[in-house]
């Protein structure tokens, strides 16, 4: 059975969908991706759908699911390279993918993920730095 490869790139997982997704494939992807997130403890998931030309409500829902599941497991999802026609279709279907980050291409998506992770890391460091100060007072 077909599988979509999931690549690990540092703290992120990279998925490029090069074929039109049919329901079974999308479900497999959802399972594989979530188990990869839990195995690797990835901080971010980047899904490239620039080659996807046909999208339906099921596929839209799967993307939303992946994002929600990843967020629960502390990983942000970025969908990159959506085709105009696909975007219009999703909007017409009423699926605006709330909670999913989007970017124009893989490069910008990676920047976005680094920013998101970076901000979180900085915040955590700030918290740690503040604690000793409190002790001194």
């Amino acid at each position: 059975m077909d599988r979509i490869p999931i690549l690990k790139m540092g703290p992120f997982l990279l998925v490029t969908i090069q074929v039109d997704l049919y329901d079974r494939l999308a479900l497999t992807l959802e399972n594989d991706l979530i188990s990869m997130v839990s195995q690797t403890g990835a901080k971010g998931v980047l899904i490239d759908i620039s080659a996807v030309t046909i999208v339906d409500s099921f596929m839209g829902r799967i993307l939303g699911n992946i994002a929600s599941m990843s967020r629960i497991m502390d990983a942000e999802t970025v969908v990159v390279g959506m085709q105009p026609a696909v975007a219009i279709t999703l909007v017409e279907l009423g699926l605006t993918l709330q909670g999913v980050y989007t970017a124009l291409d893989v490069e910008k998506g990676m920047d976005l993920l680094y920013n998101k992770i970076g901000i979180i890391d900085v915040l955590e460091e700030d918290d740690q730095e503040e604690e000793p100060d409190d002790c001194n007072d």
Partner: protein, 290 residues
């Protein structure tokens, strides 16, 4: 062969002459749009078809197959005239002047028999009246086609996507937004985002006369689609009346960035892309040079 048809066939030449005379003397004749020869051959063709139809003896139903050819020719004529810019009156006059010519011939032919004259005139009149109705209908249809084509053209022209800065697109919308137009706006914008790799799009609605819930919904759709592509969308040019309408209608634009003017939207876009625009103090430069 019906008697009417016989009478008319006999005086075919005279009908065409009278008809042409009627048309040529009419003040509304547009010889700038159509030459006399052209008009004559057109009229001749129509009359031939009409006489053939009269021959069938059917004077009641112009929508029957007997009149197919007549109607076809008439449709052609009125659609061409609509495109050429004839007025409705000029087009209507074309068939009505034929009626005059036919009546004149019948009057002449049957002047000794008023009863028969009445019968014949009534028959031809009803047919020609229906035919002029058809001419009008087709004329209007032709005009509507022209209007539709122009609407399409306006839609095409009126949605330019402007690249105001590296990575920032602006799209001034002028005129009412209906669903067909939103579709075009959306497609153009998204395509341009892909082409230029822009990350911010400014939708300027200062040229939109009114915003109702439907228009707002279209705007929200466009913004959502832009977001799905991975770009941010700012709506600018919201006038006081429009802000009032939006709030009164209870439309929620809270998760869309809105600005009053294109300038402030551009400023927001700059700060989002970490670009700074500032004034240069030229005088300071002069002093230094001295």
């Amino acid at each position: 062969m019906s008697t009417t048809a016989q009478h008319l066939q006999k005086h075919r030449q005279r009908i065409i002459e009278t008809w042409m005379k009627n048309q040529l003397t009419d003040a509304a004749l547009r010889d700038d749009l159509m030459s006399n020869d052209e008009l004559r051959s057109q009229s001749d063709e129509l009359l031939t078809a009409l006489l053939r139809a009269f021959n069938s003896g059917n004077f009641d139903d112009v929508y029957s197959s007997d009149y197919d050819q007549v109607i076809e020719i008439l449709n052609d004529i009125s659609i061409t005239r609509a495109r050429q810019g004839f007025s409705p009156r000029e087009t209507g006059q074309y068939v009505i002047s034929l009626k005059k010519a036919v009546n004149e011939v019948l009057e002449e032919e049957l002047k000794d028999d008023p009863g028969a004259l009445y019968q014949e005139t009534r028959k031809t009149d009803s047919v020609l009246d229906s035919l002029s109705m058809i001419t009008f209908e087709t004329f209007i249809k032709g005009r509507e086609e022209v209007i539709f084509r122009q609407t399409d053209e306006i839609n095409e022209i009126s949605t330019p996507v402007i690249r105001v800065w590296d990575g920032i697109l602006a799209l001034p919308i002028i005129g009412t937004l209906d669903s067909a137009r939103t579709q075009i706006v959306m497609e153009n914008l998204l395509q341009e985002i892909v082409n230029t790799g822009s990350s911010i799009a400014i939708l300027d609605i200062s040229g939109v006369p009114a915003v109702d819930s439907l228009v707002a919904q279209h705007l929200i759709k466009t913004v959502s689609a832009t977001r799905l592509m991975g770009a941010e969308c700012i709506i600018s040019g919201i006038r006081a009346e429009i802000a009032q309408t939006i709030v009164h209608l209870g439309i929620d634009l809270s998760n869309i960035k809105t600005k009053a003017t294109l300038a402030s939207a551009l400023q927001l876009a700059f700060s989002m892309t970490n670009v700074e625009v500032r004034k240069i103090n030229r005088n300071a430069g002069f002093k230094l040079m001295k």
